[in-house]
């Protein structure tokens, strides 16, 4: 029991008004850490190619040479410079995973909210279709399409994004069903508010938590999926540098020359952690005031 004086007319508020949700998002240490990580990754993606000391395709030294003054991070399985390849290899994985995660979460959230709020026939159709989609092996399907339509990165982004949608829809539907039964949603229905309006103004702000968590997760999964496709030669093709590809190429030499794996892996991890922190920060900023939330 907490003593909340019910003075009703003259309340004293200690908390700042909720005017600036963005400011509150930025005031969170975790958001700052996330932004910092993301900045490092993006700076490398943007300026790395300019800073690279060597060519990324030349065989400069014996494979798996340890770090030296000339090759700060050593060489990889083909004797190429790990540092240069790392500085060059971020662009594809970053844009592809961010785009496919955004696409998948957006489509999944819309379908999930629609199903959870409408219930009945629409709910059944959306959820049964998503069951079917979940039952199909993503990778095999992606390969099938790539084989049919030709290797194209935007196609891969689209396929991976859509593969995320059913499970996101499932999660979002669950929360939506709960929120949709609460009285403030009924109160909007009682004044004749339309479905779209209720979904956007009443439901969406209350399901951002799971959506944001999904967004963070889906980014990571996208990185994995894209890297896996690269390995089997369907994503980024070998002489090109790519973090996902590098991890797989240099795996075999991890005991001799770990930097070929560690450097790209570290950046992938930083990217993933940054996306998670930022996404969860958005949710915390929206629910400020709730116990255990932001100060």
């Amino acid at each position: 029991m907490t003593a909340i004086p019910d003075t009703s007319t003259a309340s004293v508020f200690i908390a700042p008004p909720t005017r600036s949700r963005v400011r509150r998002w930025l005031a969170d240490t975790r958001t700052i850490i996330g932004l910092g990580f993301l900045a490092v990754v993006l700076l490398i993606v943007a300026f790395g190619p300019l800073l690279a000391p060597h060519s990324i395709t030349e065989f400069l030294a014996p494979p798996f040479s340890p770090p030296s003054a000339e090759f700060l991070l050593g060489t990889d399985y083909m004797g190429q410079d790990v540092l240069s390849r790392t500085l060059n290899g971020g662009w594809t994985v970053v844009w592809m995973s961010a785009t496919s995660a955004t696409l998948g979460v957006a489509v999944g959230a819309v379908l999930g909210m629609l199903a959870g709020y409408s219930r009945g026939f629409l709910d059944e159709v959306i959820m049964r279709l998503s069951d079917v989609a979940l039952a199909l092996p993503t990778m095999v399907l992606t390969l099938l399409f790539v084989a049919m339509l030709g290797r194209s990165l935007p196609l891969i982004v689209l396929l991976i994004g859509l593969a995320h949608a059913p499970s996101v829809a499932r999660v979002v539907r669950g929360v939506t069903v709960d929120v949709a039964g609460r009285e403030f949603v009924e109160s909007a229905q009682a004044i004749g508010a339309g479905r779209l309006r209720i979904l956007l103004r009443q439901i969406l702000p209350n399901v951002t938590g799971p959506i944001m968590v999904e967004y963070g997760l889906r980014t990571v999964w996208s990185v994995v999926a894209i890297a896996s496709l690269s390995v089997i030669g369907q994503g980024v093709a070998p002489p090109q540098a790519d973090w996902g590809l590098m991890v797989n190429e240099n795996r075999v030499g991890i005991t001799v020359q770990p930097w070929g794996v560690i450097a790209p892996l570290l950046l992938i991890a930083m990217f993933a952690v940054a996306m998670n922190l930022l996404a969860e920060g958005v949710d915390r900023a929206l629910q400020v005031g709730r116990e255990g939330g932001n100060q």
Partner: protein, 554 residues
């Protein structure tokens, strides 16, 4: 108050939470065997904290910093966890507020009650245990056959569950029993029976009872002494008849004044003519429910402009379904509603903007009725935008005006609902309805989730709106006492049918239908309780009726 044979004695009790804030401050109380002390206070007054201290329990983060707690000769503060476990159930037992939540849904009734006798000082072997379980059930007026003993909690009604809770509490033959609002959420008949039962058991077995509640009428009915708490401090402490008749403190007086009493006349006596009624909200032969399960049978009523019609019934009577149908949230019915002579569509989304503006709905729970992620201003602006209710002065002005109208400072507009108290939230919900400048408000149990004083404030606000804005109201409630002081006319629903209708004074003053009569008779009244106390010898509540009443309880 302070007698030598007290079995419970608390002196100078203070409890602090981790932040150092005192939630209980210098509270002293004593209870003699066979007597019941009523502990009254609003939410946050510390009443549960005081009650739980008798069991040597403090909620997480709170701890007793000062004072002594003595129960049946044990110094509770000095006892080890093991000794406390022995104490609980055998010496002090506890009846929680919500039996549905406190009974283990996977245990049969036999095990629920028998558990108390498995451990602690009152432990018994299995056959003896079963015998004791049967005795306890008999004591609370429940069946004792094997079929009943083998049931699970979900197979029992709310009243029966609370009886099981009480049976479990008395099974260990405790000296002291702590009851935390055990009748909240039960309908009036069941509430009265539970109160009589507790009174009877305490007297019969010389059990000292501590009865925690916010309901003064329940206290007047059951307790010998009363202790009023506010913000963790004792406001007043004394015998019921003295404190209720001549409260020494202003706070107690306010509590008493805020408690509506069914025995006090004050409702409407006149009824508008048929033409007048047809110009308001009319329900024509509503029959409906949920798929094949009909909960409304041919219900008709009218609310004339400016009039307040109370829709009264117990839980399950269909009153919420009816009011939801009227506002267009429930569609599964035949018959129709009309407003100002025009038919209303069954769905709110198909009604004209003007109809939506003119009819507004206030929900029961102020905690659920506001979007937790929207500020107060955003919530009201949403209603304003959807209903296109803009006045010439612009939206900001009228939102401020609506907030002022319900007695809130406009600066509250930038807050999220979780920063507001229950009363403030309910005011915001009312402001959100007022923004459309309605002619009729449908109020669905709007005060039932609020404390007595806050409830009185909200009722006062609704009165003011009726007076100043000539608002008509469909006032849905189970609280007859509130109806008596507030409504012009009443219709009584039982099992989805109207059993009685008329002016408030006709229906509540001289009820005709047996169902209405039993509702009125079972509604607790401070006045009646005090009067019957004067008639009977102290402590001797009519026990004869208890056994038979208990036996027929559902």
């Amino acid at each position: 108050m302070t007698t030598t044979n007290e079995i419970v004695s608390v002196r100078g009790l203070s409890v602090e939470v981790a932040s150092g804030r005192r939630i209980v401050n210098d509270v002293s109380l004593g209870i003699a065997p066979g007597k019941i002390l009523g502990l009254v206070g609003q939410s946050g007054s510390g009443k549960t904290t005081v009650a739980m201290s008798l069991l040597g329990y403090a909620r997480h983060g709170a701890h007793v910093v000062e004072g002594s707690i003595s129960v049946a000769g044990h110094d509770v503060r000095e006892m080890s966890q093991a000794a406390l476990r022995e104490l609980r159930g055998s010496t002090v037992s506890y009846v929680p507020q919500d039996p549905r939540a406190s009974l283990n849904p996977a245990l049969r009734i036999r095990e629920q009650i028998g558990e108390v006798l498995e451990f602690g000082a009152s432990r018994l072997a299995r056959p003896a245990r079963l015998e004791e379980v049967r005795l306890s059930l008999e004591e609370v007026g429940l069946p004792t056959d094997d079929e009943f003993l083998g049931r699970f909690p979900h197979q029992l009604s709310g009243g029966q569950l609370q009886r099981v809770g009480i049976a479990a509490a008395i099974a260990g033959r405790p000296d002291v029993i702590v009851l935390d609002e055990p009748t909240t959420g039960l309908d009036v008949k069941t509430q009265r029976r539970i109160l009589d039962l507790v009174r009877h058991l305490c007297t019969r077995y010389d059990i000292a009872g501590l009865y925690v509640t916010h309901d003064l009428a329940a206290i007047a009915q059951i307790a010998d002494d009363i202790l009023v708490l506010n913000y963790g401090r004792v406001v007043e402490h004394g015998p019921i008849s003295r404190v209720f008749r001549a409260p020494a403190e202003e706070y107690t007086e306010r509590l008493l004044a805020a408690s509506p009493d069914i025995a006090v006349p004050g409702g409407g006596t006149t009824s508008p003519g048929p033409e007048e009624r047809a110009r308001g909200l009319v329900a024509h032969n509503i029959t409906g429910g949920y798929r094949r399960n009909l909960v409304l049978h041919d219900v008709s009523f009218e609310v004339a402009p400016g009039e307040c019609l109370a829709l009264v019934g117990e839980s399950g009577s269909g009153k919420s379904t009816l009011s939801r149908a009227a506002i267009g949230l429930h569609h599964d019915y035949t018959g129709r509603f009309s407003w100002r002579g025009d038919a209303l569509s069954a769905r709110a989304s198909r009604r004209s903007t003007q109809q939506v503006r003119e009819l507004q709905y206030i929900f029961q729970s102020p905690y659920n009725a506001l979007n937790p992620r929207a500020t107060v201003r955003e919530s009201i602006a949403f209603a304003q935008r959807v209903t296109r209710a803009r006045d010439k002065k612009g939206s900001e002005n009228s939102i401020d005006a609506a907030l002022l109208e319900v007695g809130l400072d406009p600066s509250i507009g930038d807050q999220l609902p979780n920063r507001l108290s229950g009363g403030e939230r309910q005011r915001v919900a009312i402001a959100r309805a007022l923004i459309t400048q309605p002619d009729l408000l449908i109020c669905d149990e709007v005060t039932s989730a609020l404390d007595v004083l806050v409830q009185a404030e909200i009722i006062e606000l609704l009165r003011k709106l009726r007076r100043e804005q000539k608002l008509a109201m469909l006032f849905v409630t189970h609280d007859l006492a509130l109806v008596r002081s507030f409504a012009d006319r009443v219709i009584v629903l039982e099992g989805g049918s109207v059993v009685e209708a008329g002016t408030t004074e006709q229906v509540l003053g001289a009820p005709q239908h047996p169902y209405t009569r039993s509702l009125v008779a079972n509604t607790l009244s401070i006045h009646e309780a005090l009067n019957s106390r004067d008639g009977a010898a102290p402590g001797a509540v009519q026990l004869g009726s208890v056994a038979s009443a208990a036996a027929s309880a559902g």
